[in-house]
């Protein structure tokens, strides 16, 4: 006879296998994941860890050229300033579905929330790598307050928002674990969590732009504007929408539900709808940027090298994708919409890098490219983020076509 202790032991191993190893034994699982691509990804992540070790052995000077003149480099320029607007997918889709009642987009919410959660999580990872004393990250929350600082606001909001995003993702986790009571409880928190998430996002997306208000003499006048918080907030909206388009279509191409024509058709329609929304926001943003130039009366600066670069950022990376989105919707070409979403994402990164790195200290004589180590860390953390995303969607009900609301009736989820 099997006693309760033995029964628990007998049940744990199959549970571990099913939840973590995709139903395979450990040996089989290891063999399945040992693909060349995974090996490459592993090497990239390892390179990142090695550079991190260098940082903790020799200080930040070993991996960056940070100075009194340029204290922030690519780690923050990409990791924090670009990563956070791209993680706006969570609050955008959650508010669209749960607050504005656009129920048709429900299949995309979980994936968007996951992308948002991971985006913020890894932005914090970048921050931990860049901070001089990363173990003191909780200090602005619990130890010592500097409430006159916009960065104080960012710290609080990112911490609170991570919690909110986690709560919004919990239904997926509890479905995965088969914990029905917990699932129901977290589902009941959805609306409140979504409202909290939108409030927090509005404030910290704009706060990241407000950070630069303190440096009018250092940021090029075409980018510096009292409207910077508004620019950052509005661009986070179309950044989030574009990320949803990009990831949903890409993930679907690799998922096992790609053969399901109903799911494909739904996704395509949703992508077109999102493209419409994104285009509207992008043209609004363009008008705002023009207002910014007018407000500063800097039209003459458009005829300078930095002026040309400003026009490139605004026309090639915002106006053009806006037009392409409209074209893609009008001709129902989802592939064009997908490519345009990628262009938009790149455009948001270009804008954030401009504000934090390229147009910052724009007229100082000695300017250097960020160190190679910074690029490696960026690619390494990005790889880790993609691997984490893949790990989760392979096991938890996240992707369209793989989600069920009741754990008993859910369809088997596919693998990427």
């Amino acid at each position: 006879m099997i006693g309760p202790r033995e029964r628990r032991h007998h049940l744990f191993e199959p549970w571990l296998r099913e939840k973590f190893f995709l139903g395979l034994s450990l040996g089989q699982y290891l063999r399945v994941i040992a693909t060349p691509l995974n090996l490459l990804a592993g090497l990239i992540v390892l390179a990142g860890f090695l550079i991190l070790a260098k940082r903790f052995a020799l200080g930040l000077a070993a991996i960056t050229d940070a100075s009194s003149v340029q204290p922030w480099g690519l780690l923050l320029g990409y990791g924090l300033f670009s990563g956070v607007p791209l993680a706006a997918s969570g609050y955008i889709m959650a508010s669209a579905v749960y607050l504005f009642g656009l129920k048709a987009y429900h299949p995309l919410v979980r994936m968007a929330v996951l992308a948002g959660f991971l985006g913020y999580f890894f932005a914090v990872v970048f921050l931990l790598i860049d901070l001089g004393r990363p173990w003191r990250l909780p200090y602005p929350m619990f130890v010592s307050f500097g409430p006159a600082s916009v960065l104080f606001l960012v710290a609080w909001h990112v911490a609170l928002y991570l919690s909110v995003q986690f709560i919004e993702f919990c239904p997926s986790i509890f479905e995965w674990l088969g914990a029905e009571k917990f699932r129901k409880w977290t589902v009941s928190l959805t609306v409140v969590a979504t409202i909290g998430g939108v409030i927090l996002s509005t404030l910290h997306q704009s706060a990241l732009g407000a950070l630069f208000l303190l440096a009018p003499g250092k940021l090029h006048p075409l980018w510096y504007s009292p409207f910077m918080p508004l620019f950052f907030f509005v661009s986070s909206i179309f950044a989030g929408i574009s990320v949803v388009i990009f990831i949903s279509l890409l993930a679907h191409r690799f998922s096992s539900a790609r053969a399901d024509p109903a799911v494909t058709a739904t996704l395509n329609n949703l992508a077109l709808g999102l493209a419409k929304a994104s285009a509207i926001v992008m043209f609004t943003y363009l008008a705002l940027k023009l207002l910014g130039v007018a407000d500063g009366n800097h039209w003459d600066l458009l005829n300078t090298p930095f002026g040309y670069w400003f026009l490139v950022e605004v026309f090639i990376f915002v106006f053009l994708p806006g037009v392409l989105f409209v074209l893609g919707v009008y001709t129902s070409r989802v592939s064009l919409v997908w490519l345009t979403s990628l262009l938009t994402i790149v455009g948001v990164i270009v804008n954030r890098l401009n504000v934090s790195l390229i147009a910052f200290n724009w007229d100082l004589p000695q300017r250097e490219m960020p160190r190679g180590e910074e690029f490696v860390i960026v690619i390494s953390v990005l790889t880790l983020a993609v691997l984490t995303f893949r790990w989760i969607v392979n096991r938890m009900p996240v992707l369209p076509g793989h989600t069920g609301y009741k754990s008993r009736n859910s369809k088997p989820w596919g693998q990427l």
Partner: protein
């Protein structure tokens, strides 16, 4: 009315908590009360001869590491230096554009009356002390370097080569000395009395007096009287300041003012958004009830049915 009481109360409580939890934006350093006896320094560039004894005294008084070139090495003037983690102050040599004669300028933290760095610090590690000097608490600093990013004079330096205990380094106006009534090391060491220490208001008067008494000797401008909203360290010079490496584009209003507008909008969002968003949610719910598109979308109480 389908936004049920429970979700509404939850939303209101969350918003209320958020609004209350936002600390009031008070900022100790900005209180202008008692500012008339705040301490300051003055450098008179017509008196400096570039002997660098101020650098040496600062190095000793603050237990800074020995420099690569000794303090009597004048070849350092060939490059324009900035203060760094091991050197709170440096002296640079510039040229009078008219005569070509050398002019020396001592560079260090200007101890602004309303410092950008103090408002920038998210943990309050940078403090405008009651006495006047801008000081630093290394026990709470997290190393975000926003203070460095915000300083219009590019002064604060960071110990990037320290893996575990990096600090922000800059002139602290010998705070431990001045609070005991002792003159800062550089002012004490200067053989030409180019550096004066005292109450800022008195120094402004002294500067004005020197300029008035010798109008041919001085440029009619006290640098720091209004720059950055007023600095604790002021300067008078025989050569126009733009030839002495001072950063251009320093505004005459206090830098913390620049973020005040945004920060004051924060509580407005915390109060407005919950109502707006809960309202939209309520409207979309009512519409679903009418049209019958409830489906099994999680929505508070309904999901439990």
């Amino acid at each position: 009315m389908k936004i049920d009481r429970r979700s509404f109360i939850k939303a209101a409580a969350a918003a209320g908590l958020l609004a209350v939890a936002t600390p009031k934006v008070t900022f100790a350093g900005l209180a202008p009360d008692g500012s008339s006896d705040r301490l300051g320094m003055m450098t008179d560039f017509t008196r400096c001869v570039g002997c660098r004894r101020c650098e040496a005294a600062c190095n000793t008084a603050n237990n800074l590491p020995s420099p690569t070139e000794p303090f009597d090495d004048m070849s350092v003037f060939e490059t324009e230096r900035m203060p760094g983690p091991g050197a709170y102050t440096v002296v640079n040599r510039y040229r009078d554009p008219g005569t070509g004669a050398p002019v020396y300028r001592k560079v260090q933290c200007n101890h602004c009356l309303e410092p950008a760095c103090v408002s920038a610090c998210p943990v309050g590690a940078m403090v405008k002390s009651r006495e006047g000097p801008v000081i630093y608490n290394e026990d709470v600093c997290i190393g975000c370097r926003y203070c460095i990013m915000s300083c219009p004079f590019y002064i604060p330096a960071y110990e990037y080569s320290e893996p575990f205990t990096p600090r922000v380094q800059k002139c602290f106006m010998c705070y431990s000395r001045v609070t005991k009534g002792v003159v800062p090391a550089c002012a004490e060491a200067c053989p030409m009395e180019a550096i004066t220490f005292g109450e800022r208001d008195q120094l402004i008067k002294l500067a004005r007096q020197r300029i008035t008494e010798s109008p041919d000797k001085y440029v009619d401008h006290i640098y720091g009287e209004r720059e950055a909203g007023g600095t604790g360290w002021i300067y008078i010079s025989g050569v126009a300041f733009e030839y002495l490496g001072f950063p251009g584009r320093v505004q005459t209003t206090a830098y913390p003012e620049l973020t005040r507008g945004f920060l004051s909008a924060v509580p407005l969002v915390l109060v407005l958004w919950p109502g707006l968003l809960a309202g939209f949610h309520a409207m979309s719910n009512s519409r679903d009830e009418t049209i019958g598109t409830k489906a099994d979308i999680p929505n508070g109480k309904e999901a439990q049915r």
